[in-house]
Structures are given as C-alpha cells and as structure tokens.
C-alpha cells in the first residue's frame, strides 16, 4: 500500500478544439476500488482510454506500478496487467461464451497451458453464473449477459492488476448487478486487484468503492468518500448546473438513474 499502483500526472487530451480531459492528476492505491462519476461528456471514458492505451494523451503521463505507459499500445498495456470493459458491451460475437474467455488466454503474452486455461475459464463462468451458456454464441446474449461476459473476460486476464470498468451496471438487471458486485469484490479480495469503476449508480458504488472521484468538463473536480463528495458544492453544481443545497447526487436519486443509463442529470429531485 506504500507506493500507488496508478499515477496519472497532468493528463490532457483534446479532440479537435474540444478538451475531453484537461490536466487530470491522481493516484490509485494498490487494491483500491475507486468510483468515477461525472455528467455525460465529462471525459470519464476518454480517461479510461488514456489509461488503457486506446487513446494517446497530448500531454501528461500514466504510470503503472512505477513504470510509464507512454507510447505503449493496448496489447502491451494488457500484458502489464490492465484490463477493461466498454460502455456498450463488446464481446467476440461469433465465438461462444467460453471461447470469448479462451481468446484472453491466447493473448500473445500468455503462456498458460490449454487444459489449465479451459479450467480457469470455466471457473470464471461459474463465478459470473454464465456456465450454463458456455457453448452459446456470444451474439445471442442479452445486453446484461454481455456485460457479465465482458466482466468475466476482464477478470480472465493475467497478469491482472488494474480493471477499468466503463459503466458496467448500465441497463443491467438487479440480479445480474448483484453477481457483478460479488465477482468484483471476490477478485479484489483474493488477488488484490485494483478497480476503477465508472458508474452513475450511486447505491452500487456505495457498496463497492471506498472513494469516489468526480469529473466535470474534463477536469478532476472532487475526490473522497461518496457521501462527502455528494455534498461537495462543486459536484452539485456540476450535476445541476447551479449551486444549491440538497440537490447533490445522493443515494437513491442517482444521477443517470434513467433506464438508459446515459443521462447524467438526476431525475426531478422532488
């Protein structure tokens, strides 16, 4: 717990004239589960892309376990132990559920034996309760099941030190959400894996994350325990567009509780 697992130092990324991420600096401790919230378009996904190597920063550094990720392609970053899911579930549609996990074992940096790999993949499917669908083609899965498969794929990666989850609970049935929370907790406890979870679901984040960070217009505006963050006037302003007490993203009135999970605005607070 001494030196942090992930250091973001002055990260900046613009697309055309729009600054998606501006000057983000923060650290994630080893074994931490960190929530990341913020209105739509606040730069959360871009930030994950910068860490995962899908996007390169204009300025600033990402340092993982003491070594910079500068200039590294996503496959090299995966080999360093970074895994991620995507906001809209992305699975290998023409492969079976089991094969989706076996691909991970077939990554260039992996050397695991086939028998062992298959056994691990089957264990993971049991963990996320997808074992009954092991031989179904992934394109036949529902949105929530695809989300689960994404998570399992993430957890199948080795080495695994950091999981970046992009709105893993959006549009997911409460029962499936429960399995995801359990799987995240189990992996975190058993292997000390660090998680950065983008979500609008405050009740779920409360159960998962010790600390929550808030982004707004590409900037990192607040950091801390969820309740403290939810009372922060800057956060309230970011969500409501005007300062005012009692309108923060509190539990039970999560921003983006709208069924599509895309709205960054809380529902009518009445």
């Amino acid at each position: 717990m001494d030196d942090p697992l992930l250091i973001l130092d002055g990260l900046h990324k613009s697309f055309g004239g729009v600054a998606a991420v501006r000057g983000v600096s923060t650290t994630l401790a080893r074994g931490e589960i960190r929530g990341l919230i913020g209105p739509n378009g606040s730069g959360k996904t871009t930030l994950l892309n910068l860490v995962g190597g899908q996007t390169r920063p204009d300025r600033g550094w990402v340092v993982l376990a003491g070594r910079s990720l500068e200039g590294q392609p996503p496959d090299a970053i995966a080999a360093r132990g970074v895994a991620r899911t995507f906001q809209l579930p992305r699975v290998f549609r023409h492969m079976t559920v089991l094969e989706n996990l076996l691909v991970v074992v077939c990554a260039d940096h992996r050397r695991a034996g086939w028998v062992e790999a298959r056994r691990d993949a089957e264990a993971l499917l049991r963990l996320v309760h997808l074992d009954g669908l092991a031989h179904a083609e992934a394109r036949t899965l529902s949105g929530g099941q695809a989300m689960l498969l994404q998570l399992a794929r993430c957890l199948a990666q080795r080495p695994l030190v950091l999981c970046l989850l992009d709105e893993p609970f959006a549009g997911v049935h409460p029962g499936i959400k429960e399995r995801m929370v359990q799987a995240i907790h189990e992996t975190n406890r058993a292997h000390g894996v660090t998680f950065l979870v983008v979500s609008h679901e405050m009740p779920t984040l409360r159960r998962l994350a010790g600390r929550v960070s808030v982004m707004h217009n590409g900037a990192w505006i607040a950091d801390g325990p969820l309740d403290a963050v939810a009372r922060d006037p800057r956060v309230i302003e970011a969500y409501l567009g005007r300062p005012g007490p009692g309108h923060g993203p509190e539990e039970g009135r999560a921003p983006g509780r709208a069924a599509d999970g895309h709205s960054g605005q809380p529902r009518d607070p009445a």
Binding site: F92, M95, E99, V104
Partner: protein
C-alpha cells in the same frame, strides 16, 4: 431427443466431432485420390483446376472469412507467384520445385508488405487498396513485354514430364489437402483464436493482449504465400501464363466459391470450388452468361442461407438426425 443431443455434441470444438470429421476427411481424401482412375482425362483436368481453386478459396477464406480482411488481391498474388516461378525457371534456370518455393516466398513477402500498409484499413478501404494493388500488378506484367511477353502469354516449363493430367491431379490433391489440413491445425491453435478475435472486434482483441498488428501481417503474408505457391504450381501445369488470368473475374470466382460453399468453414471453400468449377465447365457453352448465373446464385444463397452450402448441409444433417 437423444439423437438431437448427439447432433449437438457434433457442434464445433467437441472432441467427438473432430474424430468424426477427421475420419470423414480421410475417407474423402482416399476416394478423391482414386477418382482419376475412374474418369477420362478431360474430367480429371477439370477436377485438377478445381483443386487449384480449392487452395485459392481456402486461403482467401482464412484472410477474409476468419480474420475479416476482405482482400481483392488474391488472384493477382496467384498470378505473381506464377510469373515469379516461371521467370526464375526460364531466366535463372533453377529447378521447377525451387521456382514454386520462390513464388510462395515472394508472395508471402508481398502479402506481409500489403498487410503492413493496410493495417488501419477495414472493409471498403481495404478492398479498394488491395484491388488497386491487383490491377497495378496485372498492368505492369502486361506492359513489361520484354520480361513477361505481355498479353501474348509466357510459355512455362512443365512441372512433370507426364502429358496426362492424372499425376498433376495427385499433386494438386496433395497440395490442397495439405492446405486445408494446415488451416485446420492453425485455426484450432492459439493463432486461430487470435485471428477470429480480430475479425469480431479488433479493438477488444488488442485490449486483451492480442498483438493485432503482428497477426494481421502474418495472416496476409500466409494466405498470400499459399496463393502464390498455388499459382506457381498451376502455371507449371497449364504451361501458359497470361495477364488475362489475373483479371478481376478470377477474384470474383474465388469470392463466389467461398460465399457459396460457406465462409468460416473449412469444408465450405472446398465444396464451393468443386461445385463452381465443375458447373462452370458444364455450362461452358453458355459463355459469360455463366457469371450471371453464379452471381444470382450467390445473391440467393446470401439472402436465404448466409452460411452457404455448408450451412444447408448442417441444417439438413441436424434435421435428419432429429428425425432418426
């Protein structure tokens, strides 16, 4: 219900299925090897050409079907391999088998370069870029009259002394069997998983640690090398190479074979090549109208049975097993 369960056990990746399939393939191969003794020399020639297309279609299926890289240069690479081997044999005096190997190696390198240059291209852009390469190659070969004799055609030394197509048939059968078996092994390996992952979602493949750059170059190189070597053997069989054989019609024919037979199956291109080549010979009297017939057939197959003849065969087998 029990037979249905058995049919399901024959699904992809099941150990039982692979044994059944391997046995079926071995029996088919033995029958194919004996076939020319029951046929006259013209039908054997047609089947020999069909086997050449089996190799082209199978290697293109690896690239376009399994990996999702829709290249339109396969016919040109076959032609390039043919010319490379023929010219080396004619001008440098090397033995024909060595020439064939050189044709394969040169097209492997060409494919590697094409893969490297088109790394960021998908679908239409990739198709256009590879098509431009194919046309340029054909035009250059056609214009370099001094070296290639252009449209007059290049007389190519034969691979075998035999005049009968039978020994050639066996050569092509061995080459086609080796290609399909090699692809079967490749696709079951870790590399096969990587390629299929690239087809489905390149970004995710990369994010889980697949070096997509390396494997896209590799698959381009390998399928091009196979096409080049096949083209070289073909040249030394037919005895005449001409840029006319590198026209887009050839590529269209390969696409028709793969789509009709069933993309992303090993048996599909084999079946498709055999059906299309034999039908093409049977309908020779009707001239170019054949291509229209094939095009319409492909349209119908894509609309009704996107998985091709193999998909139809599988569905029928399943129904039959369920009824039994």
């Amino acid at each position: 219900m029990i037979p249905l369960g058995w049919a399901r056990a024959l699904g992809p990746g099941m150990p039982g299925a692979s044994t059944v399939r391997a046995a079926g393939a071995a029996a088919g191969l033995a029958a194919a090897a004996l076939l020319p003794f029951a046929l006259g020399s013209y039908p054997v020639h047609v089947l020999t050409v069909a086997l050449y297309y089996v190799i082209l279609a199978s290697s293109w299926n690896l690239l376009a079907g399994y990996t999702g890289l829709f290249s339109l240069a396969h016919h040109a690479l076959a032609g390039l391999g043919g010319y490379t081997s023929a010219l080396l044999v004619l001008r440098a005096g090397i033995p024909v088998p060595l020439g064939i190997a050189c044709g394969g190696i040169l097209t492997y390198a060409t494919g590697y370069a094409m893969g490297a240059l088109t790394l960021r291209m998908r679908t239409l852009y990739l198709a256009l870029a590879t098509w431009a390469f194919a046309e340029s190659t054909r035009v250059v070969i056609s214009m370099e009259y001094g070296l290639t004799r252009g449209d007059l055609g290049l007389a190519v030394p034969k691979l075998l002394a035999a005049t009968s197509p039978r020994p050639y048939y066996e050569v092509f059968l061995a080459a086609a069997a080796a290609t399909v078996a090699g692809l079967a092994i490749l696709l079951r390996s870790r590399i096969g998983y990587r390629l299929r992952a690239i087809r489905d979602d390149e970004g995710v493949a990369r994010a889980v640690g697949v070096n997509t750059v390396r494997w896209k170059r590799f698959v381009f190189a390998l399928s091009s090398g196979i096409a080049g070597a096949a083209g070289a053997i073909y040249g030394h069989y037919i005895g005449l190479l001409s840029p006319v054989g590198m026209k887009f019609d050839e590529m269209a024919l390969v696409i028709i074979m793969v789509v009709l037979g069933g993309q992303r199956t090993l048996a599909g291109p084999v079946l498709g090549a055999a059906v299309v080549e034999v039908a093409s010979e049977a309908l020779r009297a009707y001239g170019q109208i054949r291509m229209v017939v094939f095009a319409l057939t492909v349209l119908a197959v894509m609309r009704i049975y996107p998985s091709g003849l193999m998909g139809i065969a599988r569905a029928m087998a399943r129904r039959w097993l369920a009824a039994a």
